[in-house]
Every structure is written in structure tokens, then in C-alpha cells.
Symmetry: C2
Subunit: 412 residues, 2 copies
């Protein structure tokens, strides 16, 4: 039995071509949601899909669906991701999954496969959330977890709405939401982290996606002269912030591998060399794929801060900026990823997704799983984002085998 594989050159060529759309004079790649560059990226995807014989539908939040209906009326299998980018982006984040989906469909068609259900390749609007917040907007609206009107009314920093921009670029679709009810959703994506590369593993079978807890904390102490104020008479908000940072680090390292915690931003006031800091403002980013671990971490942080109020006399204000629940993917699909990867002789390991993805939203309405390929240096959201072509092709072949099995159209 021949092992069927995708057309690697075609996939890598399209990744390169899409990656050339939205470059500025300095060569930086940026296709923010509903910009002219985004329109050109969408046009390219639509064009490739239509040339492959797929029907393209656009819903009212601008999500693109390339449908190989195949005459079937059943709930479709959906493969998807996004093609909008961050500022000064790499070429793989999101785009790899969408173009691989298209490549899988074309390969199946060329091989004369007869799926028992439609296959849809989706490119969701505004996954990155850079121009319009929040992120994963198109998939959230599609899954019914974010209101359509609010999404269309969201404004960028210039006050322009997403709705008006979708109309302007010609991607304000007519299809009502939820017309497509997928039977399952698969997202192929670069890892955007260092684990696969560090361990020399080729495929990640992603069984969960971390819940995220974001807070802003403001600690109020007392600004004082750094020379004349004895150590025991201080309320140093900067030192208090340092204690919180160390607490979070101990908490997360102790919980490994189920919790990550980061203080990514921090500022002091008055921020002068010879003044004891009177105020410290910082953010806390905590994530876990385990519901109880994340909730417990939040409780322990709150208790630590309360102790700082009670015993040390600081005033502390905590504001929750974001909170998403962990998501468990479909166990059967995850085992399928492991099986087909092993059948191809590839190394594979289970892992969680540390970042948010459209799959996070789709998991609420359909059995979902993700496949990861390694990211060189764990780098993403950066022009140095890179995965070797051979690894990109390997991931797409795993996706191909998985889809083949799920649509009952074994290839030979």
C-alpha cells in the first residue's frame, strides 16, 4: 500500500506566497484584521480555494469557509486556523494551518477520495486581536460565545469599527452564523514554544489548551528619601512587587508542569534612583490546562496579597483583565493523532497548548484537537519564526492521515 502524502512543494510555495502579502518597504510582514493587507491575503486564499474547485462562503463576521461539499449533506469536518497576523510577524502562525487544510483537500481530491461528509477549510477573522480586541474574535462569534453585534462594533485605536472595515474590504459576508455545524474541528499549528525542539520530537498531539488568568496589580506603599529613611520605616512598593514575583515563580515551578506564571510588565513610581518606590504597577499572567490548578493559583496569590495588606501595611488593588477556562480536547482525536504519527514512524508526545487558538473556541461546539510541529527556538510573533520545511510537510501528512480516517476515505 502506497503511503499518500501531500504535495510538499505546493504547500511550502503557498506559505511563501501568502507570506509575501502585506510586506512594508522594510520587509516587515503585517496583515492586521480587516486592513487592505488582510484583504489581499483573503483574496489569495479565496482564489486558491476556488481554483481547487471549492465553494467559498463568507459569514457576517468575515469568517472564510472553503467547502468541498462533495454532494454530502452531513455535518462537515472542519480544518482551520487564521490568516491575520501580528505586527512584524512570521509567515507560519495561523497561515500554516489554513494552507495545510487546503492542501489536504486538494490531495484528497487528486487521489479520487470520496469523503462521507463535506470538508471545510476555515480561516477565522481576527484571531490575533491586535487591531480589534478580543482575540479569537471570528471563531468566538462563530461558536456563539461572543456576540456578533459587539464584535462588529469593536473599534480600533482610530475609532474605526470592524464592521465598517469588513464592508470596506468586501468581506462582510451574508451567510448567517452557525449555518455550518462541524462534526469535528482540527487545527494544525506551529508550537510557538520550545518543547518539541528541545526534546527532538516531531509531532505534538495537543490534548488541552491552557486557561488564562490575567490581572493588573497596583501596590501602594510610601515614597521616601532613599538615604534618610531607615529600612525598618519603609513601605517599599518595589520590594513588595519583587516579593510577589518571587512568590509566583516558586508557585509555578512547584506546580510544574501544570502552571506557568509571568510578571511581564512592571513600573514603579516615582521611579527615581534616590526615592523609595511609593507605588508599583504590574501584570500577572497565569496559565494551566488544569481548572483546579489555575483556580488554586489565583486563590494563593490573593491570599499572599491579603497577607501583605494585613501584616505589612500596603494598599493593594487587583483588577482582572482576562479569564478563560482551560479546554480539554477530544481524547479520541488526540489518540488518533498519536496513532497516525507513529504509523508514519514519527516521534510524537502529548502536550498542552500554552497559547490561545481558534480551536479553543471551536471546542465548545465540536470535538476538537490540535497538532503541533516544532518552532525553532520556540520563537513566534516575530520574523524569525521558523519551522523546517520537512517538519511542516510532516505535520501536514499527519493531518492528511487523520482526516482520511475521520471521513472514512482510506487512501491507498
Amino acid at each position: 500500500m502506497t503511503v499518500v502524502s501531500i504535495n510538499g512543494a505546493r504547500l511550502l510555495g503557498r506559505i511563501g506566497a501568502l507570506g509575501a502579502i502585506g510586506r512594508d518597504e522594510a520587509g516587515r510582514l503585517t496583515r492586521l484584521a480587516a486592513t487592505d493587507a488582510d484583504r489581499l491575503g483573503r483574496d489569495a486564499f479565496v482564489s486558491w480555494a476556488q481554483h481547487a474547485g471549492l465553494e467559498v462562503q463568507i459569514d457576517c463576521i468575515g469568517n472564510l469557509f472553503a467547502i468541498w461539499s462533495n454532494g454530502q449533506e452531513r455535518a462537515p469536518l472542519m480544518i482551520g486556523s487564521h490568516i491575520d497576523t501580528v505586527i512584524d510577524a512570521g509567515t507560519l502562525d495561523g497561515c500554516y494551518g489554513v494552507l495545510a487544510g487546503l492542501e489536504i483537500v486538494q490531495t484528497l481530491k487528486e487521489r479520487g477520495a470520496v469523503p462521507d461528509r463535506p470538508i471545510v477549510v476555515a480561516a477565522f477573522t481576527n484571531e490575533e486581536g491586535v487591531r480589534f480586541a478580543p482575540d479569537m474574535m471570528g471563531s468566538a462569534v462563530f461558536a456563539g460565545s461572543y456576540p456578533l453585534e459587539a464584535a462588529l462594533a469593536s473599534r480600533d485605536s482610530e475609532g474605526v469599527t470592524l464592521g465598517s472595515e469588513l464592508r470596506r474590504i468586501g468581506y462582510a459576508g451574508n451567510e448567517p452564523l452557525g449555518l455550518l455545524k462541524p462534526c469535528a474541528y482540527i487545527e494544525l499549528h506551529i508550537e510557538q514554544g520550545p518543547i518539541l525542539e528541545r526534546e527532538g520530537v516531531e509531532i505534538g498531539a495537543v490534548d488541552s489548551l491552557q486557561g488564562i488568568s490575567w490581572q493588573r496589580i497596583i501596590i501602594g506603599g510610601e515614597a521616601n528619601h532613599a538615604g534618610t529613611t531607615p529600612m525598618t520605616m519603609r513601605h517599599d512598593a518595589g520590594h513588595a512587587a519583587a516579593r510577589v514575583i518571587e512568590f509566583l515563580n516558586r508557585l509555578a515551578v512547584g506546580s510544574s508542569p501544570h502552571l506557568v506564571a509571568t510578571v511581564g510588565s512592571l513600573s514603579l513610581a516615582p521611579n527615581a534612583i534616590n526615592v523609595v518606590p511609593g507605588e508599583a504597577t504590574f501584570t500577572v499572567d497565569m496559565r494551566s490546562p488544569d481548572l483546579s490548578v489555575l483556580a488554586e493559583a489565583e486563590k494563593r496569590l490573593a491570599a499572599f496579597l491579603q497577607d501583605m495588606r494585613d501584616r505589612d501595611g500596603f494598599s493593594i488593588a487587583e483588577t482582572q483583565l482576562a479569564r478563560t477556562q482551560p479546554v480539554r480536547f477530544e481524547e479520541g482525536m488526540v489518540r488518533l493523532i498519536e496513532r497516525v504519527a507513529q504509523a508514519r514512524g514519527m516521534s510524537v508526545r502529548r502536550m498542552t497548548s500554552g497559547a490561545g487558538h481558534d480551536a479553543q473556541m471551536l471546542a465548545a461546539i465540536a470535538p476538537t484537537a490540535m497538532i503541533f510541529v516544532p518552532s525553532a527556538g520556540g520563537i513566534s510573533h516575530n520574523p524569525r519564526e521558523h519551522t523546517a520545511g520537512i517538519q511542516l510537510v510532516a505535520g501536514a501528512n499527519v493531518l492528511l492521515d487523520m482526516v482520511s480516517e475521520m471521513i472514512s476515505a482510506p487512501l491507498e
Copy 2:
């Protein structure tokens, strides 16, 4: 024997009058060195001094000397401080010591005292170092520890030199430096710290002045995705900075009362909620009145940072921004302060000065001591800077008694 005291109303009245010079429309007080406001403050002091029968000399760095020569040719006793201010200042910092000096001389004259040596009341140029760096500039030049030409050539943020500004405001004096060689120097000053008030003590007999060590430290780690990077694969420069802050705090608290350490300013890069900090830049301010304690603290910090390079893989750059040696004041003069304060029934305690003063520079060329009075809330460099009138008068009376004894002119 009557206890002679100063004219409290005259002293407090002059403090108020000088404190009214240099107010903006919002009532903020600012007399930066060699500005028009500084000129008006200088004019007021010169006028009061001349009306009191003192001869005023101005040296080539603009230091003002109001001299009660009394026909004597001996090395003068010098009482001094400064009358330039910071931005949005209080009325007492520096001005209290200069006007108290004038008040002491007027009281002695009015009482018919016959000093055995001249008495000079000095107001040194640019003690604050806000407009022209470094601070204590006039007294440093006077003491021969900073070159006159460099001081005159120092430029403010607009590129204007101190020398040209002194000429512009008419205070580029002719007297060569060092014509006046004081036999001793006394500086009366507000504490600018919380100790005297906290302990309910009226007078500080200041026996030393802290040496200062200022550094800027840049820790280089690795910026990474806060969600996808495991805790054990991070080089979090923010967490590293937090460890340094805690190390310094333990070091200083353990050394109490001989060391204070402060990280007053800190910034992270890229400073984003979902990115592990790749770089942390912060300042370290360490002070001790003890030479070996300060040097030991610097060594232990350097060793801590080296360990962070060797064991944790951070790159660390340390830059020294300033370094002044601790100063020990004249033991006999400090004991005299204690004795005359106790003789007046006041509470007095020995202490160090946490801030820099002109006395720091004068100590290099003459026996020197300082007298502190309490600062409400330890506040200074702020319009809320405050000391009760009764405490200001008490401090001036201690100075009066000290001067009386040192000039062999006992009062009765």
C-alpha cells in the same frame, strides 16, 4: 544667669519671606541655581546681612559669605548651608541653616558679644544639583574637591553654562577661592528623614554623613511567550531583578543601622503582559556612614550578580553612576552639640546624615558637624516639608550656644 536665645519671630519671619521668593502662579516654590528666582533669593540674603552690619563677599563660583570680621584676623568660624532649591520645594531645606546663621550673628551682636575670631555666614552655590550637576557644587569648589573651571562650564539642559548665568544674575564674584579658611564649620538643617519625629527627640547631633554608591544594572535574559515557555526553560530578567531587590533588602536589614539599600527605578523590556521579560534595567542606591560596610555591600552585590551570570546564564552589565566616601564629623563638636542641647533641657541623639550636604564638602578642609531638627513625616523636597516653629527656634538656640562656646564669648 539669663539664658540668651535668638529672636524667634525674626528667624521665622525671614524663613517665610525667603520662602515667598520664587513662587509661580500655582504657588510652587522653585529657586534653581543661578535663575532669576535664585538672584532674588540671594538679593534678600545679602540685603539682610548688610543691614545687620555684615560685609558680603562673593567668590568666583558665586558662594556668598556674610562676614562679621569684628576686627579679628584669625581663621573664621563658618556657619552655612544653601538657599537654592529643588523644583516645587519646601521653605526649610538649606534656607533654615543660612538664616539661622544670620540670626545667631545678629543675636550675638545685639548682646554685645565679642568673638575672638570672625564669624562667617555662608550660602553655597548650587547645593541641589538640579539645574547643573553635580550637587554640592559651590561647597565642593570652595573646598578644592571640584575644579572651578569645570563647575563654571557645566551646562543645564538648554546648554547654558553656570558661569554665564552667574554673570547674568550679577553673582559672578571676584574673590578668589579659599581666601576664607574656616577654623570650623557648622550646618544646622532639617533632618529630611523620620527618625527624630518617630522617637520624639528634639535635636540630632550628627556625627557622620553616609557615603553613597549608585549603580545602574542591566540584566539580559530571554524574552519568550508567557504561555508556551515552561518555567524551567526561561531566563526571566524581571524575576532576576526581583531576586536582586530581595537580596539587597536582606543585606541592608541585616546590617541595620549601618546600611540602606534601595532599588528606586526599574523597567522591563518588552514590558508586555504575555511576554517573559528579556531585559531588566534598574538602579541601586546604597549608603552607609561606615566605609567598610559600604565597600562590603558593594562586593557582596557584585558577587551575587556574578553568581547569577555563572549559574543562571544571565548577562549583566553594571555601571557606577556615583560614589562618595562616608564622612566622619568632628567628635569634639558633636559632643558639644549634645552638651549644649542637654543644658537647655532638650532631648538629643546621635545620628548619621542620610542625605548629602555642603557639610560633606567642608569636612575635608575644616572640623565640621551638623545639627538636625525633626522633619514632620520625614518629608522633604516637597511643599509639605515642615518643622514646627518651636523646633526651628530650639535648633537655632543650640547653634547659638555652640557658636558662643566656640568663639570664647560666653553669653549672659
